[in-house]
C-alpha cells in the first residue's frame, strides 16, 4: 500500500535552524504498528521520533508516542515541545488561551504557548523531580567521574524526573565550557546508578542566559547531548529543592550545545507550586510526506 503521511523534522530549543536538537514528527501516525514506528525511528536516526495520534480523551489536544532509535519512551522534554510546535504549524490543533494538553504514555501533560511566529515559545510541565539517595559504592564512582571537575557549592545529586540524571554544579561557566568529560568513568557511574546521564551546570553572567548546561550520556552511545529538556528540568528541581533559586530567579534561560556545534536555549520556569516547566523556540527544517507502509 502506498499511503502518504504528513511529516516534519524540526529543530527544538533553537533560535535558528541547526542550533538545537532535531526531532522527526509523523503528523498522522494512525494505523502504524508499534513495530513500524520503532523501525521508522531507527531509520530517521534522530535522538527522538514522534507519532501524532487521535486522542483517547476529550481533555487532550493531541496524543503522541515517542521513540528513540532503540525504544519507546513514556515522556521526554524536547519531543513534547517539538511535537506541539508541529501540530500547531500543521493546523491540527489550536492553543486555546495559550494552553494545550498533551496525551502521552506518562499521562496528560499541560503545555503553554506564548508569543507567535519564529519566536513562539512552547513549554511543557516536567514530571516532578525527586532526589535519589546514593550509597558509598556509588559515591566512589561519582568521585572518580567528577575528579577532573572544578565543583561548585551544591553537592552532586541524582534526580529522578522520569529518567534519572546526575546534576553536578561546577564553579563557573568556564569550568563547564572547558570541561573534558571522562566518558568512561561517567558511563561506569551512570550504569551503576541507573542514570541516563550526567549533567553539569554553572551560573553565568552573560546577558542572554543565566545558566550554562552540558549533558553526557556515554552509556547510551551519546557522548554529549546537544540540548536536553529533562536534564534542565532535573537541574531546576535540584536548585529549587536546595533553595538557591533566589540568585538566578524562578524564570531563567539556560545555554546548552555550543561544545558540540549547536547553540540551544532552554527557557526554565519554576511555578508557585514548585512545578518545573521547560520550553523553547522550535524551527521547522523539513516538511513533506512520508511513505513507510
Amino acid at each position: 500500500m502506498n499511503i502518504s503521511r504528513r511529516f516534519m523534522q524540526c529543530d527544538v530549543f533553537a533560535d535558528y535552524t541547526g542550533a538545537g536538537n532535531g526531532l522527526a514528527v509523523v503528523l498522522d501516525g494512525a494505523n502504524l504498528s508499534t513495530e513500524q514506528m520503532q523501525a521508522f525511528a531507527k531509520f530517521t536516526n534522530m535522538s527522538e521520533t514522534t507519532f501524532v495520534l487521535p486522542t483517547s480523551t476529550s481533555e487532550a489536544s493531541y496524543r503522541v508516542r515517542i521513540f528513540t532509535p532503540a525504544s519507546e519512551l513514556p515522556f521526554a522534554g524536547h519531543p513534547s515541545v517539538g511535537t506541539a510546535h508541529a501540530v500547531l504549524e500543521a493546523g491540527l490543533v489550536k492553543a486555546g488561551e495559550g494552553r494545550l494538553v498533551q496525551e502521552c504514555a506518562a499521562g496528560l501533560l499541560p503545555m503553554m504557548v506564548e508569543g507567535s511566529g519564529k519566536d513562539r515559545c512552547i513549554s511543557v510541565r516536567a514530571p516532578r523531580g525527586k532526589i535519589i539517595p546514593h550509597d558509598d559504592t556509588i559515591r566512589g564512582l561519582l568521585n572518580t567521574a567528577t575528579a577532573n571537575m572544578a565543583l561548585g557549592s551544591l553537592p552532586a545529586t541524582l534526580v529522578n524526573n522520569g529518567p534519572q540524571w546526575w546534576c553536578v554544579e561546577l564553579a563557573d561557566e568556564t569550568a563547564v565550557r572547558e570541561l573534558k568529560p571522562q566518558l568512561h568513568e561517567i558511563a561506569l557511574l551512570t550504569q551503576a546508578s541507573k542514570a541516563v546521564g550526567l549533567s553539569v551546570f554553572a551560573h553565568s553572567d552573560s546577558a542572554n542566559y543565566q545558566l550554562v548546561v552540558r549533558a553526557f550520556c556515554p552509556d547510551d552511545n551519546i557522548p554529549e547531548d546537544p540540548v536536553t529538556g529533562s536534564a534542565n528540568a532535573a537541574i531546576a528541581a535540584l536548585m529549587h529543592e536546595c533553595m538557591v533559586l533566589e540568585t538566578i530567579g524562578a524564570t531563567y534561560t539556560a545555554s546548552q550545545g555550543r561544545e558540540v556545534g549547536r547553540d540551544g536555549f532552554v527557557q526554565v520556569r519554576i511555578d508557585a507550586d514548585g512545578e518545573v516547566w521547560i520550553g523553547g523556540k522550535t524551527q521547522t527544517v523539513i516538511e513533506g510526506s512520508l511513505s513507510w507502509d
Binding site: Y16, G22, V285
Partner: protein, 296 residues
C-alpha cells in the same frame, strides 16, 4: 533563501527501512561548505548529499557528499541515492540508460536497469581493484581474526579497491549469520594493515540471493554496516579472480544487514576486473522541502 527540495531515500532496499538511508538536498546552490557540514551533522544520517549544477560538459549533475563529520570524495550508496532522488524529482533525464555523476572522485557513470519484473535499479561502476593479497598465515593480527572463523573454501585475502578490505569466505550461510565478531581483533587487524576492516561472505543455496555478506569496520566507528557498496565490489573482484563466479554467476544478488535489523538487497554485475557494477533499488521515504535559515 527559499526552501530547497529535500528527499530521504533508502538505498539497496526493496521496502522502506531495509537498506542504508541517505538525505539528499536538491538545488543546493548558495549553501556554503560550512552550512553543508552543519546540515549533515544535523540530519545525523551516515551521509547527506548536496546536488549542484555540473561543471563538466558531459556530467548530468554534480554532488558533494558529507558524513556528519566531514566531506568525502565518493561513496557508493550516496551516489545511487542521489541519482534516485534526481530521477524521482524529475530533475534529470536518462539517455541510453546511463547518467554521469560529477563528484570529488571525478566522473562516475551510473547505469539504470528497468525490467518488467524489477522496479528501477541503479548501478554505479566501482573503482577498479588493484591488488589482491592472499593471507599467508604470517600476519599475526590477521591470524588472530581468521583462526576464530569457520572459514570456507577460498583463502582470506586483503583486497584493495577504492579502499582496502580483508575478505573471508565462511563455511556456510548459517555460520555467517551466527557469527559474533571479535571487534577488538578486527580493529587491531584493520590498523595493522591500513584497511577498513573485515567483510565475510557465504555462498547460499535455495535462496533468492546467491551470497550473504556482513561487513565490520569497528576501527572507523562502524561496528557493522547495513549495506556496503564498495565493499561488495571488492568481494566481486575477489570472486572473479578466483574463478568462483563461474558457478555463482557473473550477475549475482547479495543479502546483507539482517543481523542488525536491516534487510538490504545488493545486485552485482562482474564480468571483467575493470567493469564491476554495484546496484539495487532505492525507496523514497521522505519527499519534501528543507528550510535552513542560518541567522547566527
Amino acid at each position: 533563501m527559499p526552501p530547497r527540495p529535500y528527499l530521504q531515500v533508502d538505498v539497496f532496499s526493496k521496502r522502506p527501512g531495509c537498506g542504508n538511508p541517505l538525505a539528499v538536498v536538491l538545488d543546493a546552490e548558495g549553501l556554503t561548505s560550512e552550512q553543508m557540514q552543519e546540515i549533515a551533522a544535523w540530519t545525523n544520517l551516515v551521509e547527506t548529499t548536496f546536488v549542484l549544477p555540473p561543471t563538466q560538459a558531459n556530467a548530468d549533475y554534480r554532488v558533494r557528499i558529507f558524513t556528519p563529520q566531514r566531506e568525502i570524495p565518493f561513496a557508493g550508496h550516496p551516489s545511487l541515492g542521489t541519482a534516485h532522488a534526481l530521477l524521482a524529482a524529475k530533475q534529470i533525464r536518462v539517455q541510453k540508460g546511463e547518467i554521469i555523476q560529477e563528484c570529488g572522485a571525478g566522473l562516475i557513470p551510473i547505469r539504470i536497469e528497468t525490467s518488467r519484473i524489477f522496479r528501477r535499479r541503479l548501478f554505479f561502476r566501482a573503482p577498479a581493484v588493484k591488488n589482491i593479497q592472499t593471507f599467508d598465515g604470517e600476519n599475526a593480527s590477521a591470524k588472530a581474526v581468521f583462526s576464530a572463523l569457520e572459514l570456507g573454501q577460498l583463502a582470506p585475502s586483503l583486497v584493495e579497491g577504492g579502499r582496502k578490505w580483508w575478505i573471508a569466505e565462511m563455511r556456510d550461510e548459517h555460520a555467517l549469520r551466527q557469527l559474533n565478531p571479535d571487534y577488538d581483533a578486527i580493529t587491531a587487524m584493520s590498523k595493522a594493515s591500513d584497511s577498513m576492516g573485515l567483510c565475510v561472505f557465504a555462498r547460499c543455496k535455495e535462496q533468492d540471493y546467491q551470497l550473504a555478506v556482513r561487513a565490520f569496520a569497528p576501527a572507523f566507528g562502524i561496528q557493522e554496516d547495513p549495506a556496503s557498496g564498495a565493499a561488495n565490489a571488492t568481494i566481486a573482484a575477489y570472486l572473479l579472480e578466483s574463478g568462483a563466479l563461474e558457478t555463482i554467476g557473473h550477475n549475482y544478488r547479495v543479502s546483507q544487514g539482517r543481523e542488525i535489523g536491516h534487510d538490504a538487497t545488493i545486485d552485482l554485475r562482474a564480468t571483467r576486473q575493470d567493469d564491476i557494477w554495484v546496484g539495487g533499488e532505492c525507496q523514497t521515504v521522505i519527499n519534501g522541502s528543507m528550510n535552513w535559515i542560518d541567522s547566527k
